[in-house]
Amino acid sequence: MQEINSYGNDKTPEITGSSKVPPSEGFREATIWQILETVCDPEVPVLSILDLGIVRNVVLQVSPFGGDVEGAEIIITPTYTGCPAMDMISMNIKLALAEHGYKNVKVTSVLSPAWTTEWMSEAGKEKLKAYGIAPPNVRQQVCNNDLFAPHEAVQCPRCNSYHTNRLSEFGSTACKSLYQCDDCKEPFDYFKCH
């Protein structure tokens, strides 16, 4: 058993590459992470589950003979407690890995530490904006229990104006709230800080 805590690996191995030399540990790790990059959030299909920051760890089971990967445990954390996308994400992880020959895959959900939008990648935020969803602010300006607090200043993903107005703290999915731009008048979703 070995644990991999990050995927910030410079190597970009080819997933289907075959070699007579047993692949290095780094290669095997990076390969799994690269496959996980192809699994998307079913609700926000421009985001991979790595962009979302819900994959916490990958644990490989490596055969003591020949170093083949015998199985993998993917440890994920749910975004919101009731998010119905999580079951689908688990299934899609297994499917994506099965396509590349990993049969013995277990997906484990871990609740602590609780997911936060701070784990969303910068690339993910760019993709969200291009998709028309305002990405979470770096720091939530309004993050307390004060009532009738001024709404967070959210930038319109279409015209970049900050003259926007919150229509509802709750939106089309648990992770979003509903805004409207006062300048271009377009309503848009804001991926709220959590």
Binding site: N5, N57, T81, G82, V110, L147, F170
Partner: protein, 276 residues
């Protein structure tokens, strides 16, 4: 695994009033977890009845979002309760699951708060029920997130982030309606009449809560103080000398519960073992 240790959230939080370390899940037994699971499930079911019927689209969505959060919380509690119940029955032939606990228990086996099962009434009544509960749940989970039981601490710490939204949303609505028009104020008075009698139960520990380490007197004082503050802003007042109805925590429910379960459990009862 080091990465997932919860030591950072287990420090004793004096503000939450929890100075005692809560016992582990196995000590708790399933009953306390079922109480938490049942209350969140039943309130989720009630709120979801508003789906498609909210006064405006945005608030319809808000309430169904809250409903979904509560359902997610109840699933976490049921899954954990099932694991503990199965463990304590030593290799059961028919292990319980989150589904069997939700769909196949009878009214008397449900341990939810009476508040959660009360009918929706009008928008004001639904709002007030949600506010009373969110205020209580927020303060309770602030204590439970310090539990020595890692899974209970993890579930409640995660839920707290969502409850903050529920609490803010429902508090604002209580103020908006109470301090709104003569009609909305009148409706809130009616809602208080209907619901206040079910709030006392929250602070009376059932047998299975006595060893949990929850500081109930602190919980009650903190809740009353918060409700008073919100009611003041809403130009409402706390009723005095009201008889407090109890029983939900031990399975003695109001007349509404059977109908709610009939709807909730219908498909599973009519088509046993059906799955999604």
């Amino acid at each position: 695994m080091e990465e997932f240790n919860t030591s950072n959230i287990k420090e004793t939080n004096e503000e939450s009033g929890s100075s005692k370390v809560l016992p582990s899940g196995e000590d708790l037994g399933g009953a306390f977890l079922l109480h938490l699971a049942d209350t969140t499930l039943i309130l989720s079911q009630r709120n979801s009845e508003w789906c498609g019927h909210g006064p405006v689209l945005e608030q319809d969505i808000a309430l169904t979002n809250i409903s979904l959060d509560l359902l997610g919380q109840s699933r976490n509690f049921y899954q954990y309760a099932a694991a503990i119940i199965n463990l304590s029955t030593n290799q059961p032939t028919n292990p319980v699951t989150e589904d069997s606990l939700a769909y196949l228990r009878k009214e008397r086996e449900f341990k939810n708060l009476l508040l959660a099962e009360q009918p929706n009434g009008d928008w004001g009544q639904t709002i007030l029920r949600q506010y009373f509960f969110s205020q209580y749940q927020y303060l309770l989970f602030e204590q439970l997130q310090n539990s020595s039981d890692e899974q209970l601490a993890a579930i409640t710490a995660k839920a707290l982030k969502e409850i903050k939204y529920h609490l803010r949303w429902s508090s604002e609505w209580v103020i908006r309606l109470g301090d709104g028009t003569a009609e909305s104020h009148h409706r809130m008075l009616h809602a208080i009449d209907e619901l206040w009698r079910y709030t006392g139960e929250m602070f009376l520990p059932a047998d299975y809560e006595k060893e949990t380490g929850i500081n109930f007197s602190f919980l009650k004082d903190a809740w009353m103080k918060k409700v008073k503050a919100i009611f003041e802003q809403a130009t409402l007042s706390i009723p005095e000398n009201v008889f407090m109805q109890t029983g939900g925590k031990t399975g003695i429910h109001t007349e509404h519960m059977g109908y709610l379960l009939a709807e909730l459990q219908y498909v599973q009862r009519a088509y046993p073992n059906s799955e999604w």
